[in-house]
Each structure stands twice: as structure tokens, then as C-alpha cells.
Amino acid sequence: MSAQLWALAVAGAVVVAAACLETFRARRARKLVLATSTPALRATSPQVGRNEEPYILYFTGDSCTVCRTHQEPALARLSDVRIDKIDAVNERALADQFHVYTLPTTVVMAADGQPLHVNYGYAPAPKLERQLAEARGAGLRSAATA
């Protein structure tokens, strides 16, 4: 029985370590993306440009099942928002710029092309709606101060 208990402890430690590593990696990638300058992003892809409204960059791929079963239905629930679907394998430069290490990845972009929120992994519709509302609020504030 002791071998089983030790194995349980070892496996538990590995799971906890992996969860911590994943959290650290996501935070680091998010920080790097949010610090990225907008002109560099615009130069990388014609898909990223100036808009009237906040929009979403949706990184996906053929190998991503969660994208089709979870993320796309969640994105379909959002109303009045432009979604730019990007193949993370084919558009590697753009994916690298947003530090896409997992699929799906969604980036909520402000109207001026500035990344505001990055979600690595599945992002449910209410979370994206909240982030879009924040992006719209930020847009209104910057318009008022201009």
C-alpha cells in the first residue's frame, strides 16, 4: 500500500507543479503581449488594423478540437463583434507575436488595435463579453479625453 501512497503523492506533486508552471507561462506571455507596440502588430498582418469597435483575434488550428466543440459556440454567442479567425500554424509570425502556445487563444483588441486581454485556452462567452465591455469603456474614455 505504501507504494501506492507514494505514487499518489508524486503524481499529485507533478500535477500541482504543472499547474503552477502553466499559470506562470500564461501570465508571462500575457504580459509580453500587452507590452507589444501596436505598429509592430499592424505591420505583421493586414488582418490587424484600425476599427471603429473592439474586436477579437481568434487563434485556432485544424488540430484544435476544443476550438470547434467549445470556443466557436462561445464566440457565436457574442453579438455585434468582429472576429478575425487566424490559423496559428499558417500565420506563425502573428501567432508568435501574441505568444500563442496553446489553442484556442483569443485576444480582445481595442478599436485602436491595442491588445487589451489575452486568453490562453478556452474562454467562455461571459468572460469575453466582460472583456469587450471593458474595451468599449476604455474606448469611450479615450474619446472623451481626446
Binding site: 505514487a7 503524481a11 485544424d62 490559423d87
Partner: protein
């Protein structure tokens, strides 16, 4: 981006993941009382590796297609998807269980811990749809090690 033209029955994948979790748990808990039950780990490794290269030999998937689906016990859930990432994930699970099998006699803690990790990942896929093997497949494909 090209939408996959193939259809993958996700119920077959779920049955496969359930089979992995149940087999590992039976081996893990059962071996505390009856040590020969550890033989289920290398057997599972063989089943997963055989199923990766020859789908007609995938035991749990065949159980689904030949028994559970025709009798209506499990309903089919076809999804437009690529089978390659799932096969890769299954193969990876098989490799990990094969390595675990090597350790089971000299270092049972390592062997059992590796087997448990495979079961945990299968459970995470089953319950939350997160497939670590598919993410590794994506990274390898992105770096050009695997061609689509």
C-alpha cells in the same frame, strides 16, 4: 484555414478515455491487495500502442463501435475533426504506460506515478475536453516536425 473534412466520433474517444482511466485505477487500487493486477498497465500500453497504428485493434474504440453504439448504450457524437492529434495523444499515453511498465518491478512508485499521470490526463480530456497530447501535436506541427 481549412476546415477538417473528416468526421471523428467523439463518443469513441470518450469511451477510450474512460477505458484508460478505469483500467489504471483498477491496476492502481487493486494491486494494493492483489499485486498481479499490475499486469494491466503493460497490457493497456500494448492496447494503446496497437490502437494508434492499427485502429481496428483499438480495444476500447472497437468496444464502442461493435457493442455500445449498435445497442444504443452510448450515442454517437460526430464532430468535424482531424483524427491525427487524437491518435498522437493516444500513442503518447501508450509510450508513457510502456515506460511505466518498465519501472513497475524495480521502482513501483515511479511506474505507478507515471500510470496515474496518464489516467489524470485521460480524465481531464474526458471531463473538460482538454487534450495535452493534441497541444503537443499542435506545437510539433507549428515547428514543422509534423506535416499536415
Amino acid at each position: 484555414m481549412s476546415t477538417p473534412t473528416q468526421v471523428v466520433d467523439h463518443s469513441a474517444l470518450k469511451v477510450n478515455q474512460t477505458g484508460i482511466v478505469v483500467t489504471v485505477l483498477v491496476a492502481f487500487i487493486g494491486s494494493a491487495l492483489f499485486r498481479p493486477l499490475l499486469v494491466l498497465i503493460p497490457l493497456l500500453a500494448i492496447v494503446l500502442l496497437l490502437g494508434t497504428f492499427a485502429p481496428q485493434l483499438a480495444l476500447f474504440k472497437q468496444l464502442y463501435f461493435k457493442v455500445l453504439k449498435p445497442r444504443g448504450i452510448v450515442k454517437p457524437r460526430p464532430v468535424q475533426d482531424r483524427p491525427e492529434p487524437h491518435n498522437f495523444a493516444q500513442g503518447l499515453g501508450g509510450v508513457f504506460l510502456a515506460v511505466a511498465s518498465i519501472f513497475l518491478i524495480p521502482l513501483p512508485v515511479v511506474g505507478l506515478a507515471l500510470s496515474l499521470l496518464v489516467a489524470v490526463l485521460a480524465f481531464v480530456n474526458l471531463a473538460f475536453g482538454y487534450c495535452l497530447g493534441c497541444q503537443i501535436f499542435f506545437q510539433l506541427e507549428r515547428r514543422g516536425f509534423i506535416k499536415a
